[in-house]
Amino acid sequence: MKVLVPVKRVVDFNVKVRVKSDNTGVDIANVKMSMNPFDEIAVEEAVRLKEKGVATEVIAVSCGVAQCQETLRTAMAIGADRAILVETTEELQPLSVAKLLKALVDKEQPGLVILGKQAIDDDCNQTGQMLAALCDLPQATFASKLEIADGRAKVTREVDGGLETVSISLPAIVTTDLRLNEPRYVTLPNIMKAKKKQLEVFKPADLGVEIRPHLKTLKVMDPPKRSAGVKVPDVATLVAKLKNEAKVI
């Protein structure tokens, strides 16, 4: 069984972004970029499936600018066998990415696609579910446990009240939550090895996909600022303030 793992290049999670002064977006020039953390969990899970003998090949995919090659090399350093970049400089929104991925699913016929549940830049939480819909495949989102047996995936999902387990027929789409696994650190020998692995590059047109925006960003603003309040010396003062000033208890 092949496993396809889409990965996104995003602003590193430790970077606090700044809104541009002309309000057209956030400033990402000269900012550290990394693999979206949820996608790292997805790559790790796919590689573990290969190590267990469940998966035969792990293919990492990224859609975006040429620099996404670095993200794909990281995925291959974790253990992906090869990589595909769909290169474009156009703005990619989730539905367009899902269409590109659908074309690759048709081409590669994976038994499983594992994606991060959301990217930490646009916080959309859409691509996996959209891909599942376009491919008419079942989905298990927000996975915290994944078992493959008898042509099905048994997935424990993080839901609002706790956990839920679903069983879905393969091929299927799974999106990862934080507790699925802890990704390994990539080692220097594996980084070197990853440089020699195959990385194919396509253009959206090669896959017959037209990139079209569905949302237009009119303005990006700073969120309302919350200013620091006061420090209280002790619990008694805190209780008095909450009762008499804030009136919340």
Binding site: A133, T141, V159, E164, L178, T217, K219, V239, A246, I249
Partner: protein, 310 residues
């Protein structure tokens, strides 16, 4: 122009997040209809019909809707989607699971986590963990939206008198099966709907200490319990207590953060709370920069003192 709200329910009752979503739908203009797709869900449909501002409830009944599987619910939404200009879901685990399937099948973009409706086609939504707010305009004829419940007041649960129409249920997709769940049962308010939340961080040190220190405070205040990602990852608190960018987004009247340093990802989940109290022994903890009341103290002495003083 008519909006459809896809109700979140447990067949016996409508979940609170549905009420906030109805408010957002009303702001999109036009009538508001509510879809209740469930199993033995007549009571949920009846409750939906009482929500103020709802003109019509569409009730689809089938065993395969019992657990809200995305494949089946999305197909049911698509079966009636033609009648609507806006299709809205609460941005809960369930809504986030289903909405993109609907959008993709309609070949439209989805507007996630909307916090404000500026006009029928223009919306505000947080990006980068709430460090920026984007105003986006939908270029599609139909809008598929998930609603961040903290951005909208809940519609009144009673006072409405909508008609209930029965819709033909779509067949089971057959590809996905519900196997079971572990939903914690307690008398505490739901995290996303609670008026008061007490939240603990890594400083608690263990699951036992978390329970021993935080539970009495929550009991005393009738509060919901929350946790930082660090506390959840360390196994001190269950995953569904996680407050933050990728966990629950909350905005209670009072949020008490104990032993939480205040990472960007955590602040993203709670900074819209009305009053924030931070208890932390590190005077440099970033949580103090958003707290209305900060108490520099060891939580292991301060929290029991607080419980005694309340």
């Amino acid at each position: 122009m008519t909006s459809l709200v896809v109700a979140e329910h447990d067949n016996a009752s409508i979940r609170g997040a549905t009420l906030n979503t109805v408010t957002a739908a009303a702001q999109c203009g036009g009538e508001v209809h509510v879809l209740v797709a469930g199993y033995n869900a007549a009571e949920a449909a009846r409750q939906a019909a009482q929500i103020a501002g709802v003109a019509k409830v569409i009730h689809a009944e089938g065993e395969h809707f019992a657990h809200g599987l995305a494949e089946n619910v999305a197909a049911q939404v698509l079966a009636i989607a033609g009648n609507y200009s806006h299709i809205l879901f609460p941005a809960t685990a369930s809504g986030k699971n289903i909405a993109p399937r609907v959008a993709a099948k309609l070949d439209v973009g989805q507007i996630s986590d909307v916090t404000k409706v500026d006009s029928p086609d223009t919306f505000e939504r947080p990006i980068y963990a709430g460090n920026a707010i984007a105003i986006v305009q939908s270029l599609d004829e139909k809008k598929v939206i998930t609603v961040r419940t903290t951005g909208f007041d809940p519609a009144a649960a009673t006072g409405g008198s909508a008609s209930i129409e029965t819709a033909t249920a779509v067949p089971d997709s057959g590809k996905s099966k519900f196997e079971g769940n572990e939903i914690a049962k307690n008398d505490r308010p739901e995290l996303t709907a609670a008026k008061i939340i007490v939240s603990g961080g890594r400083a608690l040190g263990s699951a036992e200490k978390f329970n021993e220190v935080m539970t009495p405070l929550a009991d005393k205040l009738g509060a919901a319990l929350g946790a930082s990602r660090a506390a959840v990852d360390a196994g001190y608190a269950p995953n569904d207590w996680q407050v933050g960018q990728t966990g629950k987004i909350v905005a209670p009247q009072l949020y008490i953060a104990a032993g939480i340093s205040g990472a960007i990802q955590h602040l993203a989940g709670m900074k819209d709370s009305k009053v924030i109290v931070a208890i932390n022994k590190d005077p440099e903890a970033p949580i103090f920069s958003v707290a209305d009341y900060g108490l520099e103290a060891d939580l292991f002495t301060a929290i029991p003192e607080l419980v005694a003083a309340l």
